[in-house]
């Protein structure tokens, strides 16, 4: 097992960092050390910066929306006396569906003018032809990503809501605390670990965004939806440019490291606090 992990995870990850410093011609089979040249060209070409910006932008668009949506759904379902399993199943449906297939459906829904989105949201707001717009293409992809994972976040919150102390809620209610203040002072603090977890989960998903982009926009228009995972594929596989692809991998690894750091620091702090009480 350790061997398998070393062979398929640790070594490749180390290898990826190494690859960023060489020029490897896959067709001719030559390898030469080029130092930071790959980074220099990737940064000068604007691809690395754009990839990071698009990926982080996608995270900014999807993480808060998914958390808010998931929390609302979970609170709604938790308040029900009947039909909880039914609504949970409905909201979880997109998580189980093949994302590539559903992206094709969404692409059709985002079709200019006659598509469902333009016919409804477009008519109300004047925002139309999302997938061909420099500003709206990324939000469109982010909307699909959010649609897909809200049910997942809801399930995480639903599990956490069972741990909210009912007696404290009841006591607060008897003391005359309103629904909002009960949420703020009792429910929300109890959901802390679940929130951190949902942030980590959705940010990690954001670092991986690929299926929707390949099917809905193919990185366009004008590179406005080129995420790191997408560029990784294009550089490495479509262009056979392994060195440049590896620099994108390094960027991805750094972002993944930041997410892990956030998780360790916030969770660690929370645990410490619990420990000193």
């Amino acid at each position: 097992m350790v061997v398998a992990l070393l062979a398929f995870v640790v070594l490749p990850a180390a290898f990826a960092v190494g690859l960023a410093f060489v020029r490897w011609d896959l067709l001719r089979g030559t390898v030469e050390f080029v130092g930071i040249e790959n980074f220099a060209t990737e940064i000068a070409g604007g691809e690395l910066g754009r990839g990071v910006l698009v990926t982080v932008g996608y995270a900014v668009l999807t993480v808060p929306a998914s958390l808010a949506g998931g929390l609302l759904v979970a609170l709604g379902i938790d308040a029900l006396s009947h039909g909880r399993a039914f609504w949970r199943a409905v909201y979880f449906l997109p998580v189980a569906a093949t994302l590539v297939a559903m992206s094709i459906v969404w692409r059709w829904m985002f079709r200019p003018d006659t598509g469902v989105v333009d016919a409804t949201v477009g008519r109300l707001t004047g925002l139309r032809d999302w997938l061909n717009s420099l500003e709206l293409a990324l939000p469109a992809v982010a909307a699909v990503g959010t649609w897909q994972q809200v049910g997942f976040v809801a399930v995480v919150y639903l599990a956490a809501l069972t741990a909210v102390p009912r007696d404290v809620l009841e006591a607060a209610r008897l003391d005359g605390a309103g629904a909002l203040s009960r949420f703020r002072h009792v429910t929300w603090p109890a959901l802390g670990p679940a929130t951190v977890f949902a942030v980590v989960l959705t940010s990690t998903a954001a670092l991986r965004v690929y299926d929707t982009i390949r099917t809905m926009t193919d990185g366009g228009p004008a590179g406005s939806t080129e995420s790191l995972a997408f560029l990784l594929w294009r550089r490495g596989v479509a262009y056979f440019d392994v060195g440049a692809g590896a620099t994108l991998t390094v960027a991805l690894l750094v972002l993944a490291g930041l997410v892990t750091l956030l998780q360790v620091r916030v969770l660690g702090r929370g645990l410490e606090r619990k420990g000193t009480r």
Binding site: M1, V10, F92, T98, R214
Partner: protein, 273 residues
């Protein structure tokens, strides 16, 4: 009492409103897949008549049965490999004392944190050098060592009282027979959940196949649909919706039949700590 009742109705209504957005793509996909071409072109959501044209046209260019079969082969091989490697590893990390067991657990945790995307290019280069592009091996091998699977099973094994293992040992059972006769049967719930998690993840995965596949002979569903988009029928929305419907059908059927296990399995990563 009355206020409670109306509160419940209000929550149901609010959830139903949200559900419209959640379910709209599925409804539109289904309706459009049965709609005649002129309705599709006009962008009519509710078709004026129903037809199977989109399906017959799609199936001319879409070897969907092959994609299903490939998906089944790949997911089954991956899961078999994962169980074969993860059960002994998890058991060792949870119950055996040996030098480096702490380090082993640390390594497993570190590997969970590394996204698949990070290892994609190096693995692709290695598999290419080995001449394995466009093989089942390329689709399966990178996933058989599942750090997440090991961690999950380890946590599960830690919950089994040591007395169970001690009793078996006193009866003269060796490590292997403890593993097969006691650990495996007890681990069934954890294995079922992990199985669904693994199956759904790899059945739906498009990222990795798009690295190691160059034609659709070995295509799993997601790769297959994307290649279908490049065919004649694939450029029309009607056949596209028929294809999408056929693609999500097996998984959604499984989901509707066993939704509790599905939610538990897929949400596993949400309960891993």
């Amino acid at each position: 009492m009355r206020a409670r009742w109306s509160g419940q109705v209000a929550v149901h209504l609010a959830l139903a409103t949200g559900a419209v957005v959640v379910l709209a793509p599925f409804a539109i996909m289904l309706l459009t897949s049965f709609a005649p071409a002129e309705d599709v072109v006009a962008g009519r959501i509710v078709p004026t008549s129903l037809t199977l044209d989109n399906y017959t046209r799609a199936l001319q260019d879409l070897p969907i049965l092959r994609y299903y079969a490939n998906g089944a082969v790949v997911t089954v091989l991956i899961f078999a490999g994962q169980v074969l490697l993860a059960v002994p590893a998890a058991y060792a990390l949870a119950r055996l004392r040996f030098r480096g067991s702490q380090l082993g657990t640390g390594l497993v945790l570190a590997c969970i944190m590394i996204p698949q995307q990070v290892t994609a290019i190096p693995l692709y280069v290695a598999l290419r050098q080995l001449g394995l592009v466009n093989t089942y091996a390329a689709l399966v091998l990178p996933f058989v060592g599942s750090a997440f699977g090991v961690y999950l099973l380890r946590q599960f094994f830690l919950t089994i009282p040591t007395a169970v293992f001690d009793a078996a040992r006193l009866d003269g059972a060796g490590t292997f027979s403890v593993l097969v006769r006691i650990v495996l049967p007890m681990a069934r719930p954890a294995l079922v959940a992990f199985g669904i998690f693994s199956f759904v993840g790899h059945w739906n995965d498009y990222f990795w196949p798009s690295f190691v596949l160059t034609d659709d002979d070995l295509a799993t569903i997601p790769f297959g649909i994307v290649s279908f988009l490049g065919t004649d029928a694939g450029t029309d929305y009607g056949p596209q919706m028929a294809t999408a419907t056929l693609s999500v059908l097996p998984l959604l059927a499984g989901y509707l039949l066993a939704q509790r296990q599905f939610i538990h399995g897929i949400a596993l990563s949400g309960h891993s700590d």
